[in-house]
Structure formats: C-alpha cells, structure tokens
C-alpha cells in the first residue's frame, strides 16, 4: 500500500483523488440524465418560433418546421463516435505507458488522445455550423435548443478533457521523469466517462430518432 510521500492510508484502498473523480462521475450521471430527458421531451416541438428563420425557410420552399431527421447526418456522427472511442483506447494506452514509465509510449498516446479529442470537437463544430446553415439555431425551436444544450454541454466536457490532457503533456515535457499514474488514471476516468456519455447520446439522440 505504501506509495509516494504524500500518499495517505485510505480505508477503501482507493486513492482519494480517484474516489473523488468517481463521485463526480456519479453526479454527472444526473447532469446528463436531466439534459437527455429535456431533449427527449423537447425533440417533438419542431415548429420554428423565430420569425426570421420561418421566413427564410418559406422563401426556400420549405415548411417552417425543422425535425431531427431533416438535419441529422448519421455518417458524420458515426465517425465522431468512432473517433471518441479511439481516443478512449489511446487514453488507456497512455495510462499504461505512464504506469510502466515508458516515456515514448506515454507521450505518444497522450498526443493521440489530444488530437482525437480535437478531431471530435472539429466534427461537432462542423455539425453545428451545418445545422445553423439549415436554420436550426438555439432560438429556432425547442428541439434545437435542447439538442444544442445536450451536445454543447458534452462538447464542453470534451474540451475541458483536452485541456487537462494538454496540461499533463506540458508537465511531461517540463519534467520528463514525472510519472504520477494516479493523476493520469483520474483524467482517464473522466475521459472514459465523457466517452460513455457520448455512447448513450449517440444512441438516444441520433439513432432512436429515426425509429
């Protein structure tokens, strides 16, 4: 059980920081649960409230409604899911590199995690831009609002994850012998959880709409 100097004896044997991250994950379950139920309840209200957008749609020969199936592009979303899954795999390999104190692997997979995270955010930015061009903005209708709230909040969590992994990378460059595997594991937990939430979002938000 003995570890680095500031390691405390803990009753459950799990490091305090890791236990705290799991507690935060439990809390985030409720956060994303509420966002998802808000999406499920609001995805049916597709009537456009914003008069400017309604006029824009009518001019383009469409009815002033935007339904999920009008805007979703499943191929792009599947690629996003694939990217986030791969970043999860990279994360777990980075942790393995850190535990084995293999600097090359550790830095390589940390880079992969950051790049894939940014790629995912890129896909999401592109998707949001694509929606806005189609007229689905935040204040267009409640479907748009609840969709952007849910995926936006998830995107923010991915961005925070990328930033944290960035600081791990900076720490590794500044201090090559820094291999605090607990910190990397805690960030790994956060990253995997964000990926798991995307798995649920991918099914509930994108796929179940087509059914």
């Amino acid at each position: 059980m003995g570890h680095a100097a500031h390691e405390h004896y803990t009753v459950t044997g799990v490091d305090n920081r890791k236990f705290a991250m799991w507690t935060l994950i439990g809390s985030e379950c409720f956060l994303f649960g509420t966002l998802m139920i808000n999406y499920i309840l609001n995805k049916a209200s597709t009537k456009i409230n914003d008069p400017a957008i309604a006029k824009y749609l009518i001019e383009h020969g469409k009815k002033p409604f935007i339904a999920p199936t009008d805007v979703y592009d499943i191929d792009l979303t599947t690629i996003s899911t694939f990217i986030l899954l791969m970043s999860s795999v990279a994360m777990v390999l980075a942790l393995d590199g850190c535990v084995r104190k293999n600097l090359k692997n550790f830095r390589l997979w940390t880079w992969v995690v950051i790049v894939f995270g940014l790629l995912f955010l890129g896909c999401q930015a592109y998707e949001f831009n694509h929606f806005i061009h189609k007229g689905l903005t935040l204040s267009a209708n409640n479907f748009g609002a609840s969709f952007f709230l849910l995926t936006g909040c998830h995107g923010a969590h991915v961005a925070v994850g990328v930033m944290l992994m960035g600081s791990v990378l900076i720490r590794s460059y500044l201090q090559p012998d820094w291999f605090d595997s607990v910190v990397v594991e805690v960030l790994g937990l956060y990253w995997h959880f964000v990926d798991v939430i995307w798995i649920i979002i991918f099914t509930v938000v994108y796929l179940l709409v087509y059914v």
Partner: protein, 95 residues
C-alpha cells in the same frame, strides 16, 4: 490502488478496442438497410443492447471498475440507476 500492478494487459485493451469498433460499425450498418431501420421492433432493442454492451466494456475494463474496491461499483450503479429511474418517471409524468 494506483494500478502499479495493472490487472488489464495491453492485449486486452486492443481486443476491447476492436470489439467496440465492431459494434459501432454494426450500428452504422443497421442504419443503411431501409427495411431494418423503419422496423422499431428490431431497431430499439438492438441499439439499446449494443450501447449497453459498449457501456459495460468501457466502464468495466477501461475504467478499471472490475478490479477496484466494490464500493465504487455499487456507488456508480446506484447513481446510474437512480438517475435513470428518476428520468423515466419524468418521461412518464410529462407524457
């Protein structure tokens, strides 16, 4: 504890990675066949099952839940199922 003796070997990680990619690809494939997509009786259980499998894989192995103190597992399951139960009740109540 800090996983100095890491229970999960790198090989296992890659196996899980492949399984995850396969499931994601399968989800995409189901979507291409018009006949399957429209039929909710197949689609909903299939999609839910696949997402649950992916969920367990990532949580169990990648998040090291299987090898850590069981209190984490009980806490996480309690949080997850309580959240799901409250949200289901909300869905029913809001009609």
């Amino acid at each position: 504890m800090a996983s100095s003796e890491n229970h999960v070997s790198v090989k296992m990680y890659w196996i899980i990675c492949i399984v995850l990619c396969a499931i994601t690809f399968l989800e995409w494939v189901i979507f291409q066949f018009e006949s399957i997509r429209v039929n909710a009786m197949i689609m909903v259980p299939a999609l839910l099952l696949m997402s649950v499998v992916k969920f367990i894989l990532v949580c169990g192995w990648y998040m090291h839940l299987k090898y850590d103190h069981p209190v984490l597992k009980y806490y996480y399951m309690a949080a997850f199922f309580l959240a799901t139960a409250v949200m289901m009740a909300l869905a029913v109540l809001m009609g």
